[in-house]
């Protein structure tokens, strides 16, 4: 199925419904503070079981795009970012809305999201096949070094301490090891428990870490109430002149978003921060940023949607997710026995076409839905969390049971929900944990296959140029934040 067929498939009954429902749910969850697009993706995993892999990809990709986009509604109108990636949008979106132009602020954000997403789609369809061809020549050592680099990159670039990020990733790897070892067929780390022979279910762990932990965190804020909104969204449609005036900002922020998206494991939040900072630094009027300035809204919203296309490139070509949310999408593909990587283009071309077509189509649907219904979506904030949170836990239980019907998986999910909640409280990023969990089997299989071919020697890791390059980047990305911290402490005088 080529790209044209991918689009044609999308306009048939079932897939079109999945596209609309997925985008709508993504926008709603993205707009609501607390639950993130990642949690929605995790929650949707079990329900894609009965679907074909193509339909599953359509639902999840549209949720992914909707989730990234919806955050701007509440960020702009209430200064409450529904998604972490919309935090930067609050800096200028909220002052503009507060200053009497909520429609204009929303219009800028929604249009920038659409164009950023569309430009990243161009990058996706042009870069992905080329990258896949390049990756076909990678051997086991290159693949192992690539996974290592992905883990270090996400730890180094995610929010907070690089050491904690790396520990989170390695913890995810440890969680993936129990069960039957793929290479030797031996049981490993089962501690004598029969239930552990199959290992921890990915689905249960991801549901726990992303959805249950989020419910536990949200429960603390159950009594939060929101002020009523001004229903006027006058000025939500932009003129061609508006688009032309922002053209350079849009292209620059899109390039930043796509590029950061391609970096393994780095999410949309970093894209919007970097694009905003660059726009501010290059502006002739940097003092206007943070006061309701149009360039700020456009930079942030273009970049976070451009990140989605970028994040999908390494996911489908290398099997390395470009963001934590993309890692859940990757888990969904693995559940359908679709192995992302360079061979995906030849083994499952229909999945690639569906993903690419959905990425663009869901941006267009998102634009239409958000222009038409942003105030209605924002009003969902008034629904008490007390009504919603119990349902989410029940849905998670159903999700954990859907895979194997084992109560052990439900207990696993609750356990990892508590673990995820505690990790969040300790400011430990969860993104590296999920990426470590998903990539560990690939890293181990590749390393051991390589070692079998080299009679147990690790030398190919430094003798093969691409593997060496990945290793050097890993070392650099690990050492650099620590070195920077060391220098900063040396320069800061000790308190008296």
């Amino acid at each position: 199925m080529d790209l044209v067929q991918g689009f044609l498939h999308l306009v048939t009954g079932g897939p079109l419904l999945l596209l609309l429902v997925g985008t709508f749910l993504g926008i709603v969850v993205g707009a609501l503070p607390g639950l993130t697009g990642g949690a929605l993706l995790a929650l949707s995993l079990p329900f894609t079981y009965r679907m074909s892999s193509v339909d599953g990809v359509i639902l999840m990709t549209s949720m992914y795009v909707g989730g990234i986009s919806g955050g701007l509604i509440t960020a702009t109108l209430m200064r409450i970012p529904g998604e972490p990636s919309a935090v930067v949008t609050t800096l200028d979106g909220f002052p503009m809305a507060r200053g009497g132009r909520p429609g204009r602020a929303l219009g800028l954000g929604i249009s920038a999201s659409l164009i950023g997403g569309a430009l990243s789609w161009v990058a996706l369809v042009t870069l992905a096949p080329a990258m896949a061809r390049l990756a076909l020549v990678f051997g086991p050592f290159e693949n192992f070094a690539l996974v290592l680099m992905a883990l270090v990159l996400i730890a180094a670039l995610s929010q907070g301490s690089v050491v904690k990020g790396l520990l989170s990733g390695l913890f995810g790897m440890l969680v993936s090891y129990p069960g039957i070892d793929e290479t030797s067929g031996q049981m490993r780390l089962t501690f004598g428990f029969e239930e552990m022979v199959g290992g921890f279910s990915y689905l249960a762990v991801i549901l726990g870490a992303f959805a249950i932990s989020q419910v536990l965190a949200d429960a603390m804020h159950a009594r939060q109430k929101f002020e009523r909104l001004d229903p006027s969204v006058k000025g939500i449609f932009l003129s061609p002149k508006d688009y032309l005036g922002q053209a350079f900002n849009i292209v620059r922020s899109s390039v930043i978003g796509v590029w950061i998206g391609i970096l393994p494991g780095v999410g949309a939040s970093i894209s919007s921060i970097v694009a905003y900072s660059v726009a501010k630094n290059m502006s002739k009027t940097p003092e206007k940023f943070g006061t309701g300035f149009e360039d700020g809204i456009v930079a942030a919203e273009t970049a976070n949607n451009a990140n989605t296309g970028g994040a999908l490139i390494p996911m489908i070509t290398l099997g390395i997710p470009g963001s934590p949310a993309a890692s859940i999408l990757l888990a969904g593909l693995l559940m359908h026995n679709v192995q992302p990587g360079p061979t995906l283009f030849t083994n499952s071309p229909e999945v690639v076409s569906a993903l690419m077509a959905t990425h663009l189509a869901s941006h267009i649907v998102m634009f239409a839905m958000m222009v038409a219904g942003c105030m209605m979506i924002a009003r969902l904030m008034y629904v008490q969390r007390a009504y919603v949170l119990p349902i989410i836990i029940v849905l998670c239980v159903i999700g954990a049971l859907a895979e194997n019907g084992r109560m052990f998986d439900v207990w696993t999910m609750i356990g990892f929900g508590v673990v995820g909640f505690l990790l969040e409280l300790a400011a430990v990023p969860l993104g590296p944990f999920v990426i470590g969990l998903i990539l560990a089997p690939l890293a181990e299989t590749q390393l051991r296959a390589g070692l079998m071919g080299s009679n147990g020697s690790l030398m190919p890791l430094v003798e093969r140029p691409v593997a060496l390059l990945f290793l050097l980047v890993s070392v650099l990305m690990f050492v650099w934040p620590l070195w920077r911290d060391f220098l900063r402490r040396r320069q800061t005088p000790l308190p008296a």
Partner: protein, 168 residues
């Protein structure tokens, strides 16, 4: 751009220390778990090697984290600052940490109850109790919680059985 406040520092240091100790415990458990793993003749490293060396890396990094806490070096990165600056502080409502504890305890009871009472009954009861604990306890809210619990519990049970998902 402001960093974490002075009062936050001891709290985060304590959390970091606990995290490091927990990671050390997981690493040691992994090392102990793979200690007697046999090695296949064709496999140069065996099934124990990767978990073992991952655990070693965890031990090393957790030690680094612990040492940084003991030396009172901040473990918070510079990337935090923009988020800290831009987050809206909404003090119009009380954050209630005990609700998270309720969520954990009630979820555990719920999961334990499923094999005994069946999915539908356990779900209705769970949604009723958890919803009532979280809501603002006005008669209207309690009535909505009850309706949501009844319709949600029974509806989800029927809906997912129709989708051939085997619920207890």
């Amino acid at each position: 751009m402001s960093g974490p406040s002075v009062t936050e520092e001891p709290k985060s240091a304590r959390a970091d220390a606990l995290f490091a100790l927990a990671m050390m415990a997981v690493a040691l458990l992994t090392m102990w778990g793979v200690r007697n793993q046999p090695r296949a003749p064709y496999d140069p490293v065996g099934a124990a090697a990767v978990p073992f060396w991952t655990a070693v890396a965890v031990l090393a990094l957790a030690s680094v984290l612990l040492v940084r806490v003991l030396l009172k070096h901040s473990t918070r990165g510079a990337a935090m600052s923009l988020f800290t600056m831009s987050e809206a502080v909404d003090d119009s409502y009380a954050v209630v940490p005990r609700f998270s504890v309720y969520a954990v305890v009630l979820s555990l009871f719920y999961v334990a109850l499923i094999p005994l009472a069946g999915f539908a009954a356990a779900s209705v009861l769970f949604m009723l109790v958890f919803g009532a604990a979280l809501c603002d306890r006005t008669p209207r809210s309690l009535a909505i919680v009850a309706v949501v619990a009844l319709l949600g519990g029974v509806g989800l049970d029927y809906g997912f059985r129709a989708l051939l998902i085997d619920l207890p």
